[in-house]
């Protein structure tokens, strides 16, 4: 446990030692801000039954997730492998799982920090609009739950991609590709003739796009919770195996 906390803290710190943290947070804030402007624009138009969070999600949410996840996670293992500190790390009495989980934890905590400006946007709106119906804490809660679960999946994918290679750019590309595949699965059940077939159902089940829409609407579907958690676990498991592979390669 001590090793896990020590490692997670160092990983967290290393985000802020490098420029990555500031660049990612600045980028995310810019996009959140743009989303906020779109949101205000929509609110001035026709009345809509949609909750605030769902309108926001139509904006820049996926852009932020798809681009920030690879950047946040690309260094996790790739840098250590490149510089050789991986060797000093793995010759201390820590297990492979501790290392993977510590790095994953640091990534997910940082990812959640990145979403704090959204909270600020909602609070500003509530303060200025003086309209209680505009702001439903439960919907906001489920939105953040959705952000967290989607984040888990994307960070786990990033962990896995970073464990695969010495090169940060390659790691980022792999994690972007896998992340994009999950995102695009959401568009696969509609336009093509897959509706109703098993393939269509499979795509809709892995569609993080549709799942996130549910969360923003205030709906928590256990299927999507289970999907995000199991697939995160699966990718973390793969990362662990990749790290372990030095033993049998």
């Amino acid at each position: 446990m001590q090793a896990y906390i020590t490692l997670a803290r160092r990983e967290m710190g290393s985000f802020f030692y490098s420029w990555i943290a500031y660049v990612v947070i600045a980028g995310a804030m810019l996009l959140t801000g743009m989303g906020f402007v779109t949101l205000l624009d929509r609110l001035q138009g026709e009345p809509t039954p949609m909750p605030l969070t769902e309108i926001f999600l139509g904006g820049c949410f996926w852009l932020i997730v798809l681009f920030s996840a690879p950047v946040i996670t690309m260094r996790l293992f790739a840098v250590e492998r490149h510089s050789g500190t991986f060797e000093t790390l793995m010759t201390t009495p820590v297990s492979d799982w501790q290392v993977v989980l510590a790095k994953f934890t640091a990534a997910i905590v940082f990812y959640m920090l990145m979403w704090l400006p959204l909270l600020a946007c909602v609070l500003v709106l509530r303060y200025c609009a003086h309209d209680a119906t505009l702001f439903d804490p439960r919907t906001l809660g489920t939105t953040y739950l959705g952000i967290f679960l989607t984040g888990c999946l994307y960070m786990a994918v990033g962990c896995f991609a970073s464990a695969l290679t010495h090169n940060q750019i390659v790691a980022a590309m792999i994690s972007f590709a896998i992340g994009l595949a999950f995102f695009l699965a959401g568009f696969m059940d509609g336009p093509i003739d897959l509706q109703g077939t098993w393939a269509g159902r499979a795509f809709s089940y892995v569609s993080v796009l549709a799942q996130m829409k549910d969360y923003a609407r205030g709906v928590v579907d256990t299927r999507s919770v289970v999907f995000c958690l199991t697939s995160s676990f699966f990718f973390l498991f793969l990362s662990c195996r990749v790290i372990e592979s030095r033993r049998w390669r």
Partner: protein, 317 residues
């Protein structure tokens, strides 16, 4: 027994890095692993530090098996890999604290030990500086401090002085020597003088095999015999010659003239006895003058070159 390696073999994708090696290291020894690049030194060290497992054979550190009891072994060793990788963005004290905590030291103990290794490795002046901005010599000391921070029983250092300037090499070497008083140390190097100066025993490797594993004195004795004697004696040449010819211990001798009445003689003994006292007694007995008498030992370099020369280059006997 601190390290006990027997029949260790490691292959990487078909290439044999270490082939069936066995050696032992006793507690409190400083042992040098010597060999040309690609001899399998680093691989051996990586196996001993539980980073990679071997394909076959066993290795134990202080009685713990490196394959099945890796956690126990890791607690007992301080390992500094080749090129000494560090986190360049961290500060020295912060890095050592991080490493100590990672190695399972309690909070109080961490503070104590970090202070201790900073003093021990002479890092007081730079303890608040960023590692990436330190000179190579200081970085090497940080690596050493990291290897020492949890008070390991065994310290494994892979090429600890590579890339340092002579004065830095000297200070790192002194540090290693000091460590040898309290710890068992295994260092690898291809710099002979370094091993000669710091180690009590050497293991010489080439292409994954052990060629020799012995104390330096024994290696000199076995491989270099006892060296030869150089002496300068003022005596009539023919008298000198007859005397040398009558000595059964001498394998052969050469005499060359120097200035004055002195003759410079190189004497090669047939056995491993030290003939200096014998020569001195001879000179006194005859009433000659003696102005030099010394034994030229084979340096480790000669021993090493003879051992590690590829077979094809070996001259016919």
């Amino acid at each position: 027994m601190m390290i006990d390696v027997s029949n260790l073999t490691k292959t990487y994708a078909g290439n044999t890095a270490v082939a069936d090696i066995s050696f032992q290291v006793e507690q409190g020894e400083i042992v040098g692993l010597l060999g040309p690049n690609g001899a399998g030194k680093s691989t051996t060290m990586r196996i001993l530090s539980c980073f990679i497992p071997a394909n076959s054979g066993t290795a134990t550190i202080a009685g713990w098996d490196v394959f099945t009891q890796a956690d126990e072994v890791r607690r007992r060793i301080g390992y500094m890999p080749e090129n000494n990788p560090l986190h360049p963005e961290m500060r020295v004290r912060e890095y050592l604290r991080f490493r100590a905590r990672l190695k399972g030291l309690s909070n109080g103990r961490t503070r104590e030990r970090v202070d201790a290794v900073i003093t021990q490795c002479g890092l007081e002046d730079v303890s608040k500086r960023i590692i990436g901005q330190l000179s190579k010599g200081y970085r090497q000391r940080v690596g050493l401090a990291d290897a020492l921070v949890h008070e390991p029983e065994l310290i494994i250092l892979d090429e600890p002085t590579i890339g340092l300037d002579p004065s830095q090499i000297r200070s790192v070497r002194q540090l290693i020597k000091d460590l040898g008083r309290t710890h068992t140390v295994l260092i690898s190097s291809h710099i002979l003088s370094e091993v000669e100066m710091t180690c009590s025993r050497v293991v010489i490797m080439r292409t994954g095999r052990i060629l020799a594993a012995d104390t330096l004195d024994n290696l000199y004795k076995v491989l270099g015999k006892n060296g030869h004697l150089i002496t300068e004696i003022a005596a009539p040449l023919d008298e000198l010659k007859t005397c040398f010819e009558q000595m059964p211990e001498l394998a052969h001798y050469t005499i060359s003239a120097t200035e004055g009445a002195y003759h410079r003689c190189a004497l090669a003994p047939s056995g491993s006895d030290d003939l200096r006292a014998r020569i001195f007694a001879l000179v006194v007995e005859r009433g000659w003058d003696l102005r030099e008498l010394s034994r030229v030992r084979h340096s480790l370099e000669e021993v090493y070159i003879r051992l590690t020369r590829p077979e094809s280059e070996e001259e016919p006997h």
